[in-house]
């Protein structure tokens, strides 16, 4: 394993690792490094914050735009509410599975990142190609002490991020990437 200084992940989430059985997305090393379990909580919290707000806006828009005397008004409103709640439930049910799909693996010259439930992706970014590595944390992330490592390459299609790492680990990951990148830096 190329990873240093993140023992809690292998201890915490390795039991759920068999999520990737398919040969296309097999880890390049023994197994994927997983995200902090707290990230699932963060994800669920943000689902239950942002989707209700969006749903409320949608419902309000429907409430005020549908003509009051119209016979289809209440059925439409009920249908919209039911669909919205089903959507919210789907996002919540989906979250743990999507969470388990996240994984990354640091190698000597590059890092592999995989994610996606329905549309799966595996991206490999060589350290020498990283133009910028930053650590970001939103308000909910900060509450749980989490952060996202964002990697910027010269290609906008190749921009990838590892979300849901403990702040200290995220910073360690960033520093490792930058240090290895310095030695491997190649002209674009």
């Amino acid at each position: 394993m190329a990873t240093l200084g993140s023992p809690q992940y292998t201890a915490g989430m390795s039991e759920t690792a068999p999520a990737t059985v398919d040969s296309l997305f097999e880890p390049p090393v023994e197994r994927w490094e997983r995200l902090s379990p707290k990230y699932l909580t963060v994800k669920l919290i943000s689902i239950f914050i942002w989707w209700p707000i969006l749903i409320a806006i949608l419902m309000a828009a429907l409430w005020f735009t549908l003509p009051t005397g119209w016979e289809w008004r209440s059925p439409l409103l009920v249908a919209a509410a039911v669909i919205s709640l089903l959507w919210l439930a789907w996002r919540a049910i989906r979250a743990p599975f999507a969470f388990r799909r996240w994984g990354y693996a640091e190698r000597d010259e590059d890092v592999y990142i995989t994610h996606g439930l329905l549309f799966r992706q595996l991206t490999c970014v060589p350290y020498g190609r990283m133009q910028l590595v930053e650590v970001q944390a939103g308000p909910i992330d900060r509450l749980f002490g989490l952060a996202t490592v964002q990697m910027v390459t010269a290609s906008s299609t190749g921009a990838v991020a590892i979300p849901g790492l403990d702040r200290a680990d995220a910073e360690a990951v960033r520093d490792r990437f930058i240090n290895r990148g310095k030695h491997l830096q190649a002209g674009i």
Binding site: Q121, L122, P126, T157, I188
Partner: protein
């Protein structure tokens, strides 16, 4: 304007060391500006008169009012040009500084290391007056423009900036594509016309580019109007002109398209009225695309486009800035591509088909990929054909992707990430095992190419230029 491109760009006569002085744009700037405005006046005024003649009722004071207004704009243009000339100075020696003191004084200091490219633009008015606009792309926030300089000064400034850019690059890391400097510091200027697009191909291509759809709609409208009204009203002609405007536009943009080899790389010149000249540095080319629309396929014509580092900052006027061959036959495209990448020949690629199961998802199209010592390439053939090529050393990262249908059929897609531009390299619908193998192997190839920069296709000796190059009269043999 139709004389030889070599004659149009004589070698710089001013030695670089004598440039240490404060300079101004050409005093003719005001005139050129006014001229550009007058062109606008004539264009709009003329259109007004024509339309006034067409519907004689409207022919009143309005047209003349507009005409007078635009004439005033011409005067304003002249005055603005004069003020620009009086208030703009620039200094080129060990540094490059542009100073503008109009209302607030602005000093722009351009670091030679930040210069991405230097292009010359010559609108018709400027060409007649022997002037050129120098555009210095510094990456990031759009180009710095100096308008207008005398042709000779614009060229020597361009050459000087490119030379300094080379020096500052080779100071940090030897640029593999750079021409070695002579003992006295400056390489002997060699300009060799390498390629001139055949006018017949540009003409044909400009029509075919419109596509079946455009021509069909245009002719359809014309026929419908003629049948229904049993006459040919002017508005129908105007509507047709609107649709077919793409043809003269493409014709004017790509007219007299030439590629000249110079010490800094390749000079690309094009345009009938506004003459655009770009300097292409082969080591900045990231990826190449050869494409042909359905109609161009029947004519055997290709358009070659490039993804070039630093081109994206040029803004909306950079229309067609990425074109290497506007319209050319297969062999022509191969030849011009060899000027950029001597070792890359798209005809020598061995194409690997997608998985037979992949045909179920794309029975209407054929997707293939090819790997050579230097490049990864993909080919997509539907109605339009396209070939995308990226050198291993230019791959920024790799991706694997799989959607639900692909998972059901055990397929995957491999993406080679290049810097943003017109070229996308994606190998569709490969068997999962093959996709993962291609992914891992490409990763190793790209890593090896990054370590060994001599593996880059442009590192070799520049390809021989064929001065007698003429497009083949016989269509090339089937690939």
């Amino acid at each position: 304007m139709t004389d030889d491109a070599l004659a149009a760009f004589p070698p710089p006569t001013t030695p670089a060391r004598e440039l240490r002085r404060v300079e101004r744009p050409s005093p003719l700037t005001g005139l050129a500006n006014a001229w550009l405005a007058v062109v606008a006046v004539v264009f709009f005024g003329g259109r007004e008169v024509i339309e006034g003649n067409v519907s004689a009722d409207d022919m009143g004071g309005v047209g003349w009012f507009v005409f007078a207004g635009l004439a005033a704009i011409a005067v304003v243009g002249f005055v603005v040009g004069l003020i620009q000339w009086r208030t703009t100075t620039f200094i080129v020696d060990h540094e490059f500084r542009i100073e503008r003191r109009l209302l607030s004084s602005t000093t722009t200091r351009i670091d030679f290391t930040k210069v991405q490219s230097v292009d010359l633009h010559r609108p018709l008015a400027a060409r007649i007056l022997g002037l050129a606009e120098v555009r210095i792309d510094v990456g990031g926030q759009g180009p710095q423009t100096l308008r207008f300089l005398a042709n000779e000064r614009a060229e020597s400034l361009r050459d000087y900036l490119l030379e300094r850019m080379d020096q500052s690059m080779s100071a940090t890391a030897p640029a593999p594509g750079a021409v070695p400097m002579g003992a006295n510091g400056a390489p002997p200027p060699q300009r060799l016309l390498a390629y001139r697009a055949a006018p017949a191909h540009i003409l044909l291509g400009s029509f075919l580019k419109l596509g079946l759809f455009g021509i069909g709609v245009g002719v359809g409208i014309l026929v419908l109007v003629v049948v229904m009204t049993r006459s040919l009203p002017v508005f129908a002609i105007l509507a047709l002109l609107g649709i077919f405007w793409q043809v003269p536009k493409s014709l004017l943009t790509n007219w007299d398209f030439t590629v000249t080899r110079v010490p800094q790389g390749l000079h690309i010149q094009r345009g009938a009225l506004t003459r655009v000249q770009m300097t292409l540095r082969p080591d900045r080319v990231q990826a190449v695309k050869l494409e042909q629309s359905l109609l161009m396929r029947w004519a055997g014509l290709y358009t070659v486009r490039l993804t070039v580092l630093g081109n994206n900052a040029l803004g909306e006027e950079s229309d067609n800035i990425d074109v290497l061959v506007p319209f050319g036959k297969w062999d022509e495209a191969r030849y011009v591509l060899s000027l950029v990448w001597p070792q890359v020949d798209p005809a020598a690629l061995v194409w690997q088909p997608q998985s037979p199961r992949g045909r179920r998802l794309s029975w209407f199209a054929r997707h293939e990929y090819a790997v050579s010592d230097d490049v990864l390439a993909t080919r997509h053939r539907l109605l339009d054909h396209s070939i995308a090529i990226v050198p291993h050393a230019r791959v920024q990262g790799l991706g694997l992707a799989q959607g639900p249908l692909q998972r059901w059929l055990r397929l995957g897609r491999v993406d080679a990430h290049t810097i943003d531009g017109p070229v996308r390299v994606q190998a569709y619908h490969l068997d999962t095992v093959e996709a993962r193998r291609l992914f891992e192997e490409q990763l190793a190839r790209s890593a090896a190419a990054r370590r060994d920069r001599s593996a880059e296709p442009f590192a070799a000796e520049p390809a021989p230029v064929d001065p007698t190059w003429a497009p083949p009269t016989v269509p090339p043999a089937a690939r």
